[in-house]
Subunit: 333 residues, 2 copies
């Protein structure tokens, strides 16, 4: 049995902070805080701005949980920056043990799984998870500085400026972490730096199909199946891969990167991406659906392209990974 029984610790609270574009999107009203002005949050570098979003998101989550940072056994967190500096500096003021993660855009779900394991295993009463990305830090690091104004490919995605944080613990919450299936590294041979969806979709399908096979569930057993940031290109590939195996994902499967922007009017090409994408969509939007009883049982797949410009320049393809977590309303099981 590879599916992990997480024993249902609660998501006690969540915090979300986003940039201007995200606040203007279809779910913009769901977030705790949006930047006022440009995406520097009043600071002199984009990296500091990303750290500031992490700090604020964590503080929103702590405030809503009624816990102080000293009550957290650990924070599991990471981002897309080299050496995860958004997180390291953003959390350096928190007096809490820190487990640094690198799961690319799968970080939010990776962290939720580990926080849940820590709580359910009896190691912590409460633990936190945080994940962030910033469009300007990511574009400069992985592609070119945005000031170049380079032409973007139709398959390119728009890295979300946002940070999400969660407090997981014993007790009652708006939703519960029920099961998990951590992902394997899947390399489908993609070498296009501007098509992360294609690099991640095979990993998403690998994890999802293993979960469905092992659990005996059909996609229709869930209110939603959401991937983290496949975007339109990756989402289409995932649906096609599933269809080849007779699995219908056309009804209730979507992607956080498709929910966060209005692709017709926001010029984001294939949709949103980045560690912050699934983090803020879960923190701001999906958990509100649980609170309103609109959904009771969902699968969230954190999708990550373990993409390194250096490795791509050295001729290597881009490995993907996808971690699955099942989130339920307590009454649903």
């Amino acid at each position: 049995m590879e599916i992990l029984d997480l024993k249902m610790p609660a998501i006690l609270s969540a915090g979300s902070v986003v940039g201007k574009k995200e606040s203007e999107g279809p779910i913009g009203a769901c977030f705790d805080e949006a930047v006022n002005g440009d995406d520097r949050f009043g600071l002199d570098t984009f990296e500091k701005a990303e750290g500031e979003m992490v700090r604020r998101a964590m503080n929103h989550a702590l405030r809503k949980s009624g816990k102080t940072e000293g009550k957290l056994g650990a924070i599991f967190a990471g981002d897309l920056n080299n050496q995860c500096i958004g997180t390291a500096y953003g959390l350096s003021g928190f007096d809490t043990p820190y487990f640094g993660l690198y799961g690319a855009c799968s970080t939010c779900v990776e962290g939720l799984i580990l926080a849940a394991m820590g709580v359910s295993g009896g190691f912590f009463d409460a633990a936190a998870c945080a994940a962030s990305s910033h469009n300007c830090t990511a574009e400069r690091q992985f592609r070119t500085p945005i000031e170049y104004g380079g032409q973007r490919s139709p398959t390119a995605q728009w890295t979300v400026t946002g940070a999400g944080a969660f407090v997981v613990g014993t007790g009652r919450g708006c939703a519960y972490l029920t099961q998990a299936l951590p992902g394997r590294v899947v390399d489908a041979g993609i070498t296009d730096l501007t098509n992360m969806g294609a690099a991640m979709a095979p990993a998403a399908y690998d994890t999802l199909s293993r979960y469905l096979g092992e659990s005996g569930h059909a996609p229709s057993d869930f209110d939603m199946i959401l991937t983290g940031d496949l975007g339109q290109e990756g989402h289409s590939i995932l649906v096609e891969l599933a269809a080849k195996d007779g699995i219908d994902l056309t009804r209730n499967c979507s992607d956080c990167g498709l929910l966060i922007y209005d692709r017709d009017h926001q010029d984001v090409h294939a949709g949103g991406s980045g560690c912050g994408c699934s983090a803020v969509v879960l923190a701001g939007y999906l958990l509100s659906l649980f609170e309103k009883n609109i959904v009771q049982d969902i699968l969230l797949l954190g999708t990550g392209a373990l993409m390194s410009p250096l490795a791509v320049f050295q001729g290597r393809s881009i490995p993907g990974i996808a971690h699955l977590i099942r989130i339920t309303k307590e009454t649903a099981l």
Copy 2:
């Protein structure tokens, strides 16, 4: 209580692969495998060589544990490369769930803690941990390519070329993971890219002093207290910080970065460093001391400088972190 009771899962096996310089050092005979020729392991880039070391170290550990990769519930692993590509590519052939970590040089202990939590929490029968570094990948990424032949500062350390891997599980092993205290981000204001020891020592002392205070133990209760890669500079600072609080670390405290090289004859300046440093010293040397009953109870502090060249260029100081794990012979408790 912040100290985690890990409930003593066993280190079932370990594997270590090192470069030429490490094989010529004082504990060079302890490692499973050393490179034959230059440190490229027959491959065309140093990054591929690092991945190859990870793959081989994991295979040594698996072989000695008698387990196949399919029996591992997860691998917790990371390295110093941007996007942890040594690990991502090195492990991409393993059919095992992968949790990517970024803890800089603290990664080995971070991974051991998480693997132990996964096993003791009942989530896995066995899990693995791996950490690696390569002198040539790290020097180019964090400072300058070694081909430049830049003058090295006396406080600079030599990044270890090596990978260590561990299988942790239920059952009997040569040593057991007993307690852990994960570290907090500690920023002592160091901005010198060539003095990682000074950036990490305050974090090491923060974690060690919290552990001693909370557990009621004195340093003399342990056969050894070992830090991961403080080197001579950081080690001296740690001993001084402790002395100010009346804690004597002069008797049984050392550093993996001081054990792995002969500083008088190997021109490594302040000593060894890198994720691979503590990983191979634990895998190759320390576990052999347990097997020979030379030690029965040690503290290992994985020390990490969360150093980003970009952040330093932007004028920020270098945060450190240190995760502590207590390793015992079963009979010792």
